[in-house]
Symmetry: C2
Subunit: 333 residues, 2 copies
């Protein structure tokens, strides 16, 4: 568990996209964020106060979160100075990139000397068990996509926020590094050893109140040959009661696989449902989440209507239209 609240480190982000992790945290857990720290030349803005390390510390920040992607796979010298100084002041550090903080000798040494934690959230720190498949109490919802990077995390976060607004019991359960940094804990599923993937998800979504919903962050796609095993483990470890199908209507091929077309939502439904029933015979597909970011307002509405007619399922873009209708569908179970 990462200590909160955070100071977000945006470094010298060349554009807003490079700081999307910081943006995600500020958007979804503003209560966890004291401010942002930007270096000279930073072109991104997470929309929170600019603070130096000492000011942020005095306002209560306890972890400096690297919320920016570095370029070329190295942590620049200019960053290291700030990160080292933060450790000296008393901050822990958290990082979701492939480059690990712990691989930087200066940070490892400084953290050790000051008894501070380096959270490299891409690396599992827990010895997960093999899944036992036992039915757990409480309810679970999982978004399953026609492709990777299609809005599954966003869908889960939006449904969780909607349920909290309605004062319903709800927890977002992260399975990737951005989600883990947003909430402060989770399972970095793509880095877990094969035999323990489903068991890790069982640990992430334990017994709970019968009216509590876990919104499990989806990963990969059953139709993405590089990552489908991860998706499968998520379905069988998560034993969802409700599935949301996630889609992006303008995408022409599977992400990173130009020679693979996307499945239709019908094909996804027909493959996902029998697979999910293995772990939970009562599972239902409750709705469709459409990522309409490439469409204008009219096109977005028309796309959702067309899919809703075809699939007979409540269909929204939760970013554009809110997650209310998807949550209504869960509550109707």
């Amino acid at each position: 568990m990462i200590r909160k609240p955070y100071l977000l480190f945006l470094g010298d982000a060349p554009d807003q996209l490079a700081a999307k992790v910081a943006q995600g945290i500020a958007d979804w857990r503003p209560e966890n964020v004291v401010g942002q720290l930007r270096l000279d030349g930073c072109k991104a803005d997470a929309g929170v106060p600019d603070l130096g390390l000492n000011d942020a510390w005095e306002r209560g920040a306890r972890t400096l979160v690297v919320g920016v992607a570095n370029r070329g796979g190295v942590i620049p010298e200019s960053w290291l100075d700030v990160l080292k100084q933060a450790l000296e002041i008393g901050f822990d550090l958290a990082n979701g990139q492939h480059n690990l903080l712990r691989d930087q000798g200066v940070l490892r040494e400084t953290a050790q000397r000051n008894d501070r934690a380096l959270h490299d959230v891409r690396v599992p720190t827990v010895a997960y068990p093999i899944a036992n498949g036992k039915k757990r109490t409480g309810k679970r919802c999982l978004a399953i996509g026609t492709d990777c990077s299609i809005g599954k995390m966003y869908t889960g976060l939006a449904m969780d926020r909607e349920m909290r607004t309605r004062r319903k019991k709800s927890t977002f359960r992260p399975t990737g590094q951005t989600g883990i940094l947003i909430t402060g804990s989770g399972v970095p599923l793509d880095a877990v050893v094969a035999d323990f993937m489903a068991g890790a998800i069982e640990c992430l979504t334990p017994d709970n109140d019968s009216d509590h919903w876990d919104h499990i962050e989806g990963q990969g796609s059953l139709f993405h040959v590089s990552y489908s095993g991860v998706t499968m483990a998520l379905i069988h470890g998560g034993q969802p009661d409700a599935i949301i199908l996630a889609h992006e209507p303008t995408r022409t091929h599977m992400r990173g696989l130009p020679h693979y077309g996307l499945p239709t939502l019908e094909e996804l439904r027909d493959v996902a449902l029998p697979v999910a029933r293995v772990a939970n015979p009562d599972v239902r597909i409750c709705g469709v989440s459409v990522n309409t970011s490439a469409l204008d307002d009219d096109e977005a509405v028309r796309s959702c209507e067309e899919i809703e007619d075809r699939m007979g399922l409540p269909t929204v873009d939760p970013f554009r239209h809110g997650a209310g209708r998807l949550v209504d569908a869960l509550e109707a179970i």
Copy 2:
């Protein structure tokens, strides 16, 4: 790649089952085996000559393979003495158990001093890439089971042997520790990190002659919630042209999951085929391999006949009846 030929170490195996890895090697690759080394009290026999370390070395053995399961998860002192002596003589060591040779200080030190290799085949030693899903030349066959531990490795080995007997181009591709010890190389798939599972299988089954068949060792089951992600990665990384369904007709529940019944072969077919078509639209289910070890001869024949009638697929127990009809089905593609 493990140096051949082998001397099989059976230790003080309390029964034949404890030495099933040694037995598998002696059964499937007798040409790789010089003999066996048994300690006092050993109750197992792999059916090969008993040899001491020095005799085996003189007959050409270059790796001492731990072909026995130890009890209680520790490597006994009596074994360590022999293993150390083997390293001093010049043997490499190979081991498929969870207990790693490299975790034994005395073995690590002795191996280093003598420049010998310790092969702990449960641990991946290669940095596998993320799968790219590109179509590869050559043909691939994969056994997919209604459950784990149902005869998938045996099916692949038997089909490979039958094809070699027919002087066809064929390679068995191991994905588990026993298979790796039998052939001397492979991918320990259950120990690979999630993101790289499918990529590891792509590496294992590279481009080949158009009339060459890889027989990929199956793992887990799409219906076994603990390991289904591994099976999925195997299907999408292996992009099989031919699938053999594997079944054990007397099993009452999924292995290790007493609260899960087995799927029918029809259910397995209906889930596996759409999933496999994602990676290879031309994939065909070519036959059924039935593990009839719990049945008498008449029952075994009747069970296969009944399944063949129901499924409309050539159905045999390759151990009992030979793999000829399954290979005929591949050659008919």
